[in-house]
């Protein structure tokens, strides 16, 4: 633990010029020292004065319109109960969540109670609109795998609405691929219409196949006769493949759904651009946990153990595009435990969240249970 942060250090820190070790030393200290954290916040303000020396300039008026449009859209979504990212949750196969716990136990709670829908990022608007078809895809896949995944929201979705759109998505995916990928995807489609119409109707299967085709054409070619196997072989790769089908498709659909008869031939590219999310996407706790490279391991603070403090620390975090926690904010929890929770969370590393082939920031809530046995 370093000594208190002095004025100069706090200003240099806020300016962002401290290099590696010095910066980490300050951050380590700040987690435990409230007066210094206050100092730093002040220093941030003082440093902001440099920003005020810029030459006067005004943004174009259209920016205000864009902001207000997004806010209106987000406001409308606020009342929708659906949690679109849960769809992604079904796709991401969670790593084993339980690990043998030493005593005392600090256990990440996977699914925090969803009482804060507020952080719905604008991207979610789009994802929400797409929930229908993505949901269908999930449902279909779960049938195929005979998995007992219960997701009531996805059951309500209308296959009618989803069909053309998913076809569009498949087409978009195929058109974005290399020549080889394109041909193979076409063949895959042909193959599926023949023997097994049910499988072919859900275009995401074809889309998944197209994705796989781009990465591993030979796998697909060998699997052409048995389309269902294509899907299976493609499915486990989805996590690693750059554009996760459901998310990419969701983004595609979101813009497309405004003009509903979105034909496969219509240009896919502008829609993808329109849908690219800019704020962090809101991700359910379980989804985020599944993307952890290693479980979050908090150390039980001695002082908390001695004073028999137990409890749950709830922390809102933003996970950066590189998979690190770039912002954390304690929502609730015993004061003696929050420091340990935050420092464990700061160490957490995630596989980046990918939407439309691009890494996006994700906002989620981490719940850590501190229990003494």
């Amino acid at each position: 633990m370093v000594e208190h942060v002095n004025l100069e250090e706090s200003e240099l820190y806020a300016l962002g010029v401290l290099d590696g070790d010095a910066r980490h030393a300050v951050e380590e200290h700040l987690r435990a020292c409230e007066p210094c954290a206050h100092h730093i916040a002040l220093a941030h303000q003082m440093v902001s004065l440099v920003g005020l020396t810029s030459a006067p300039a005004r943004p174009s008026p259209s920016v205000r319109d864009k902001v207000m449009r997004r806010v209106r859209a987000a406001h409308a979504e606020h009342w929708v109960e659906t949690k679109p990212v849960q769809i992604a949750e079904l796709r991401v196969q969670p790593e084993p969540e339980k690990q043998p716990e030493p005593e005392p136990v600090v256990q990440p709670v996977q699914e925090a109670p969803d009482r804060r829908v507020l952080w719905l990022a604008v991207a979610l608007t789009v994802l929400l609109a797409a929930g229908a078809s993505a949901g269908l895809w999930v449902t279909h896949r779960s049938h195929q795998k005979q998995a007992a995944i219960a997701e009531p929201q996805t059951q309500e979705t209308q296959p009618v609405a989803a069909a053309p759109a998913t076809a569009a998505a498949a087409n978009a995916a195929a058109s974005g691929q290399t020549n080889t990928g394109q041909t193979n995807a076409g063949q895959a489609n042909k193959g599926t219409t023949g023997p097994n119409r049910a499988a072919a109707a859900t275009a995401p299967a074809a889309e998944a196949a197209a994705t796989a085709a781009a990465s591993e054409p030979e796998t697909l070619t060998s699997a052409l006769d048995t389309p269902q196997r294509i899907v299976r072989s493609a499915a486990p790769k989805n996590d690693a493949a750059p554009p996760p089908p459901s998310l990419a498709m969701g983004a595609d659909l979101g813009a497309g759904s405004a003009a509903m008869p979105a034909l496969p031939g219509s240009s896919a590219e502008p829609r993808v651009q329109e849908a690219a999310p800019t704020g962090p996407i809101r991700v359910a706790g379980g989804v985020a946990a599944a993307r952890l490279l290693a479980p979050i391991q908090a150390t039980y603070p001695d002082i908390a153990r001695q004073s028999h403090i137990q409890g749950t620390v709830v922390v809102d975090v933003i996970i950066s595009t590189t998979g690190r926690v770039r912002y954390s904010h304690v929502v609730s929890g015993p004061a003696l435990l929050t420091g340990a929770a935050l420092s464990a969370i700061q160490r957490a590393r995630y596989r980046p969240f990918i939407v439309n082939g691009a890494a996006v920031e994700a906002e989620t809530t981490i719940t850590l249970n501190f229990t003494l046995n």
Partner: protein, 213 residues
């Protein structure tokens, strides 16, 4: 430090310094607007945008250099403000400070990304919603006055001090990079930075309405 006197309102009962007096219509306070925004009032949010976009945007443009990129970050920043309204403790947080700090963070991250760096290497996390209160500029005229004075102070700085602090703030350079870019030792670089900041802080203190910083 002299500026601290101003910051904490030691001059509370002195008359306002001789800065151009602008007669303002009585306006709604930030706290009131934030409270309304938290309740979902889009008009209040729009008013906050009108109040602060001209304060934040020049800084974003200073970092990113391109209007389009700066406007996109501005948009994201305000959308983020709307979404994080629930977390904003109006009794503790200063909105302009939050906008400036968060805006710079977003802009530098974007800059780093465009340069192919890992933005996380240079950026730090901070309690974005716990910006204490002194830094508060509630209307555009005040903000303009402050910005004018700060530009003046910056122009009066020795060239190397000004250049160093601008590289640090607008380009997000670290000590090592500053050493390389400006040719000074670590101590020299830090001294320049602190000197420039000190000058700005003191100017800010003189410019502000006493007790209302």
């Amino acid at each position: 430090m002299a500026a601290a006197d101003y910051v904490f309102g030691a001059l509370e009962f002195e008359p306002r310094p001789a800065t151009p007096v602008v007669v303002e219509e009585p306006q709604v306070s930030n706290v009131a607007l934030l409270e309304r925004m938290k309740a979902g009032d889009q008009a209040a949010f729009g008013a906050l945008y009108d109040r602060y976009s001209a304060m934040v945007y020049p800084m974003l443009l200073g970092v990113l250099k391109e209007p389009q990129a700066a406007e996109e970050v501005l948009r994201d920043l305000f959308v983020q403000l709307w979404h994080s309204a629930a977390d904003f403790d109006v009794s503790r947080g200063s909105l302009p400070a939050w906008l400036m700090v968060m805006g710079r963070t977003l802009a530098i991250a974007r800059l780093r990304m465009a340069q192919g760096h890992d933005p996380e290497d240079e950026l730090q996390t901070y309690p974005a919603h716990a910006m204490p209160s002194p830094f508060d500029m509630e209307n555009e005229a005040q903000t303009r006055t402050v910005m004018l004075a700060l530009r003046g102070a910056m122009a009066e700085l020795p060239e190397e001090d000004r250049q160093t602090v601008e590289l640090a703030y607008f380009e997000g350079l670290t000590e090592a990079e500053l050493k390389w870019r400006t040719g000074g030792s670590r101590e020299v670089v830090n001294a320049r930075l602190l000197k420039a900041l000190k000058s700005l802080i003191e100017t800010y203190g003189r410019t502000r309405q006493p007790g209302r910083i």
